[in-house]
Amino acid sequence: MIVVRNLEKQYGEVHAVRGLSFTVPPGQILGLIGPNGAGKTTTMRIIAGIIPPTSGTVSVAGRDIRRQPLEAKAALAYVPDDPALFGALTVYEHLVLAARAYGVKDYAQRAEQLLERFHLADLRDKLAEALSRGARQKVAICTAYIHDAPAVLFDEPLTGLDPHAIRTMKESIREQAALGKAFIVSSHLLSLIEDLCTHLLVVHKGQALFAGTVAEGRALACGSTAAASLEETFFRIIRDSVAS
């Protein structure tokens, strides 16, 4: 569903992403982890078609993000770490905007379901500029779900969410993955990754240090799939890379 090949992004002398390659097939939830400045957000932005790569290819649902950007974007939903909303639009209008932009015809019922599910029904006529951080995050998540995209990118999706919303968020990701959607979830919350993701991609200084299942990661780091927590696994992988 999402195929990344030899991805490079360079800002002057700085290599934000170096030769990254990975695939996220339908139904997979890939956890993208790494220290600050590892290149996670840059990678997500390139996949979402927000910034062009220096070299390499990205395809979403078989569409190249550079050659067929509109088709690739239509198959993708992206929620950034700090979503920006249109201040003078209401919560419901954001759903209308997303639905119309992605060509969703009968969105009313789905919009209502999403508002209910994420506890936004009471806020449906409230302007975005009056929303709390958590509520804005929920609106962004709802706009991502309204068009039923086969590939979904979440950058720090739990920021500002309350316990109920966190549970709903996790449930929704599992449900959608079971229906065949591909997810990339970037987060510093290793417990979230451990709880939710089927696969791991550890990046550091723009390079992939590990790509595989969570169990494989543990085995690689500690020689045993059962003993190590994801936190131990992560630090071991990073430490090994620094040492080498």
Partner: protein, 553 residues
């Protein structure tokens, strides 16, 4: 503790660190081509103003102290009014999210925070006063007096603006939304009426072009109503127009200092009653667009709105235009602001045409001048496009919508609102201009407006950080903004000349009528407008969202 009675040592330190940071940023930017050019232009602009004095030549125009004083008072009055209109809806006392997070929980009193705010805001007053002294020395003023008088004037202006904005904020909070709207509009109309009345008593009334109202100040006469209007600014004018620091001047200076102290005490009192709101609003800013220091004067809730579905999708153009138009409708601050600006200019134009005394009424040039300046004036606050959607650029880039549709959708709202505000001028002109000239105004005005907003957005996407408002006395920022404005005006002028040249050429070849000529020019300008849209689309496609942080800082 050893704390200063006026300001905590930590706040003094912060002011110093901020000054060093500003210097560091300036050093860094001046090493770039764009930054050094902007600085050079800033220095050249100031140098051009200062040249007559530095070269030792006698001033070309020498104004008597009485005349200069009246002009100075009028300028201060205009500054207060324009500042209030420009900042309608902004918070009175603004702290950045960083300041709110670090300073509010700190061991600082509100009075200290206010002092810090004022000192950091008027830090550039010395530079501005120095520029003012050079400028006024060119009309015969004594520069040391202007330097001192200018500094106390800038402090006074800043504190007065904060006081007036705080009063407005308190009124807004205590009144209902509708009442506050009516109140703001009423105050605006009242101010316009008072100014018009005061000007109407002038013996040599300005005619035709609104901008001549300012230049025409040289022929202003003191009347009782004008004296009343300008009385608060008299002590400052007396200092600025002094020829020597004698006892009388020092007395006026003392008076200025006392006024500033009194205004500060008043500000502290007003702010104390508004403290909670000010703190909450400063904190809330963290969650709103970082580019906006404005408190959105919009209702918090909108019932049953389906505005976005009203326009056809048109590959995204219609939907995004609807988003921007909805924003325009809900930003009452913006619309009130524009109504006052355009209403005042239209009134002045009407007044000039009926009272100019020469019986010529509105001329095509005065109309064109009014429309041009209105568009330039409006375009700056009317940020219903990329300039006002800085943080949503990332979202727009993720949409499966063609770039041209996104760009055209962004331009639709500001262009339509501007055309709406140009309408009063057209209606005024309809009474006097022949139909062919009216047709020309429409054929030329619409595409030129599109081109202007395209240029605004192209320059914004190319230099987002360069569009931010400058700090007081920031020579580099002044230079940068002068350069950008000049470039935009030159491109607009070149486009107009090209279209007219093409029209005249075709008219000579084919033998067109006047109406035909207008149509050809109109078509040429439409093509230019489409080309500007292509350039804007290109600028949008290549805009790197990682520059957003720099633009917002």
């Amino acid at each position: 503790m050893g704390a200063s009675p006026m300001l905590h040592p930590a706040l003094w330190a912060l002011l110093g660190l901020r000054a060093r940071a500003g210097l560091r940023r300036w050093r860094r930017s001046v090493t770039t081509v764009g930054g050094s050019l902007a600085f050079l232009f800033g220095v050249l602009a100031i140098g051009a103003a200062a040249y007559p004095i530095l070269s030792g030549r006698p001033p070309v125009i020498t104004l008597e102290p009485e005349r200069l004083g009246l002009l100075y008072q009028s300028a201060l009055f205009a500054f207060v009014i324009v500042g209030q209109i420009k900042n309608l809806g902004d918070r009175a006392v603004y702290f950045t999210p960083g300041e709110a997070d670090f300073l509010f929980p700190g061991p600082f009193g509100r009075r200290e925070l206010l002092t810090y705010r004022i000192l950091s805001d008027v830090g550039g007053a010395f530079v501005m006063s120095a520029m003012l002294s050079l400028l006024l020395a060119g009309v015969g003023a004594w520069w040391p007096a202007v330097l001192v008088g200018g500094m106390v004037s800038f402090v006074f202006l800043h504190q007065t603006a904060l006081c007036l904005a705080t009063v407005r904020e308190i009124l807004e909070l205590q009144a209902s939304s509708l009442l506050s709207r009516v109140l703001i509009l009423a105050v605006g109309v009242l101010v316009v009426a008072v100014v018009m009345h005061a000007l109407s008593l002038q013996p040599g009334r300005f005619a035709g072009e609104p901008l001549t109202a300012v230049a025409g100040g040289t022929s202003m006469e003191r009347t009782s109503s004008l004296n009343f209007l300008l009385a608060p600014f008299l002590p400052f004018a007396e200092v600025v127009t002094a020829r020597v620091f004698d006892a009388a001047t020092l007395g006026w200076l003392l008076c200025c200092l006392l006024i500033n102290a009194a205004v500060f005490v008043l500000l502290v009192r007003l702010d104390a009653g508004n403290l909670h709101t000010a703190e909450v609003m400063s904190r809330r800013d963290r969650h709103s667009s970082a580019a906006t220091r404005r408190r959105a004067a919009t209702p918090r809730r909108v019932r049953g709105s389906h505005a976005l579905a009203l326009l056809p999708h048109l590959r995204g153009l219609g939907t995004l235009a609807a988003v921007q138009l909805t924003t325009a409708m809900r930003r009452q601050r913006l619309l009130v602001q524009l109504t006052i600006i355009v209403g005042a200019i239209a009134l002045a134009l009407q007044f000039g045409s009926s009272g100019g005394g020469d019986g010529d009424g509105v001329t095509p040039m005065s109309l064109l001048s009014a429309v041009l300046w209105t568009t330039v004036l409006i375009a700056n606050p009317l940020r219903l496009d990329f300039r006002g959607n800085l943080r949503t650029l990332e979202y727009l880039k993720t949409l499966p919508t063609p770039g041209w549709a996104i760009c055209a959708g962004q331009l639709t709202a500001p262009v339509l609102v501007t055309l709406l505000y140009q309408l009063p001028f057209l209606l005024i002109a309809a009474g006097t201009l022949p139909p062919v000239q009216l047709l020309a105004a429409v054929c030329v005005g619409v595409p030129l407006t599109v081109i202007w907003y395209s240029l605004e957005n192209i320059t914004f996407l190319m230099y987002p950080a360069g569009q931010q408002s400058q700090a007081l006395g920031d020579i580099q920022a002044i230079g940068r903004q002068v350069v950008i404005l000049c470039v935009k005006l030159v491109i607009l002028l070149a486009g107009a000349v090209l279209a007219i040249g093409l029209g005249v050429g075709v008219a000579k070849l084919v033998g067109l009528t006047a109406v035909g000529l207008v149509y050809v020019i109109g078509v040429a300008l439409v093509i230019e407008a489409l080309l500007s849209l292509v350039l804007l689309t290109r600028a949008f496609a290549t805009f790197d969202v990682t520059r957003l942080a720099a633009a917002e800082s």
